[in-house]
Amino acid sequence: MRGILAIFRRELGSYFVSPIAYVVTGFFLFLTGYYFTSLLTSVIEYSMRAQMQAMQMGGPPSIDAPALVIRNFSGFATTILLFLVPMLTMGVYAEERKRGTMEMLMTSPITELQIVLGKFFASLTMFVAMLAPTILYHLIVSQYSEPALPWKILWVGYLGVLLLGASLLALGSFISSLTENQIVAAIVTFVIFLMLWLIDFGGRGAGTTMAEIMKYLSLLQHNESFAQGVIDTSSIIFYLSVVSLGLFLTLRNLDSMRWRRA
């Protein structure tokens, strides 16, 4: 536990002294902020039109504007994560290998598992720090929202984003452990994320078994139920499996580096 904590603290510290983390967080907040305002404008317009229609036809307005905002927003946030997470994970192991500090870690009395877990939880904490300010957007809106903001949907939506982020971080870290070059790590991670995103399109509509499998494998697909406020156990298990797979592969790779090293 002490080993994990030591790695965790150093790793987290390194995020906050590197410009990359600030650039990534800045971009993320700028893009989500911009999207949120334009989303709000269009949803307001849309709901006003719906209200007018409802008045003409009679009966109550039929759309739930706050839920619509939350759903669209988490859909957008998850999409940009595909682009930004590779930049957070690219250096996690690649830099360590390049600087030669990996040699020190591997000859210290800590296990590979402690290294992997320490680094993973550090990147997850960094991720939460990046995501947390976006809750402010919803808090501000909740002051003026009519009907009231559906808090449950909001939190479930964030749970989905967190799980997706954890999966991406675990996979990205694994790819970073394969190379000494963080640019290569970033590019490969990005391409793989893109593929995991595109699989989603291939799986849409078609009813074949293949399409079903592809749909199941799509990382984003599993996030849709969360965005609608539904806690889907199978999706939670899916994300946790992806996280475990990523960490396991990293662990095996660190272990095998000992044997392959020339």
């Binding site: 002490r2 510290g13 030669g100 210290s108 009395p109 000992r258 020339a262």
Partner: protein
């Protein structure tokens, strides 16, 4: 403290380390000497548990480096060829981190860090970022990292490479001061370093051990006889014949330089400096310089590793001796 038996490491067909055995007693400084690519780093990496060996065994403090890696890792401090530093950390934060992962009890960490910084003389810049330090400082932070958990065994891979002469002196002094309490293995391809710092030497070439002995023994054993070099003014042939006629002189090599000076290298069974001086002066030559030449590890090293090229060796030796003179002078200058 360290026992290595029949250690082998192969990469495919190539054998980087081929049947190496040696022992290091507690408190000793062992020099690991060899040309680049001789297998020094590989051997050290096996000892630290970074690489598994292909065959043979290695034990540190009684623990097998492979079977009981964790026990071994607690007891060693290791400085790889490039110091393993995090450029964005301050010196003290970095050493605190290393102390944590080396398993130093929390309460002792501040003391251990302060102690390591004091020993490695980096204390006055403890709050500076590592990336702003000079090469020599970084190297010393690397050494501080290797001693922060007060390990029984310290393994240093080329600790003085890339440092300037003053820094080299400091680092050597530091290493010597650590001996006694710690057992130290250091690798180098710089021979004077071994002569200055180490108690014993393992000379390694192409993955095999060429010689293991104390530094002094190696020098005397391979020295053979006395060597004298003199410089005089006069005819080369006359000087040669008058020296060759002294009883006990085995060989004389004479060379005349462009400036009219004659240099003679004399090998003899006993110390004949007095007789040689008398003969040269009485022969009418101006004696300008006379000194005993001690065989350095460099010569021994050449003898051990390049037997097949006798001619090339002779030439290289002359060049090396010239280099040595420069080095010796530099060292003398530094000492005064």
């Amino acid at each position: 403290m360290i026992e290595v038996e029949h250690l082998v490491k192969s990469y495919g067909q190539a054998r980087a380390v081929n049947d190496i055995s040696f022992k290091v007693e507690k408190g000793e400084i062992l020099g690991f000497l060899g040309p680049n690519g001789a297998g020094k780093t590989t051997t050290m990496r096996i000892l630290t548990g970074y690489l598994p060996a292909t065959g043979g065994t290695a034990r540190i403090a009684g623990f097998d480096v492979f079977e009981q890696s964790m026990e071994v890792r607690k007891r060693i401090g290791y400085l790889p060829e490039t110091p393993p530093l995090y450029p964005d950390m301050t010196v003290s934060a970095y050493l605190t981190f290393v102390a944590q992962i080396k398993g130093v009890p929390v309460a002792e960490i501040p003391n251990r860090v302060a102690e390591a910084m004091k020993l490695a003389t980096v204390a006055e810049r403890k709050d500076e970022l590592i990336k702003r330090l000079s090469r020599g400082y970084k190297q010393r932070v690397g050494i501080a990292q290797a001693i922060v958990h007060n390990p029984d065994v310290i393994i240093l891979d080329e600790p003085t490479v890339g440092l300037d002469p003053n820094q080299i002196k400091e680092v050597r002094g530091l290493i010597k001061s650590l001996a006694g309490q710690h057992t130290i293995i250091l690798s180098t391809h710089i021979l004077p370093e071994v002569e200055v710092t180490c108690d014993r030497v393992v000379i390694i070439n192409k993955g095999r051990i060429a010689a293991v002995d104390t530094t002094q023994n190696l020098t005397t054993q391979l020295k053979g006889g006395e060597r004298v070099r003199l410089q005089a003014n006069g005819s080369a042939e006359g000087l040669r014949s008058s020296i060759a006629s002294i009883e006990g002189v085995r060989s004389v090599e004479v060379k005349s330089g462009a400036d009219g000076l004659v240099t003679a290298d004399i090998e003899s069974g006993a110390d004949l400096r007095a007789q040689i001086a008398a003969r040269v002066v009485s022969g009418g030559f101006d004696l300008l310089e006379l000194r005993a030449v001690t065989l350095t590890l460099e010569d021994i090293f050449m003898q051990l590793t390049t037997e097949e090229k006798a001619e090339a060796k002779a030439e290289a030796k002359v060049e090396e001796e010239a280099e040595e003179e420069v080095e010796e002078k530099a060292e003398e200058a530094a000492a005064t």
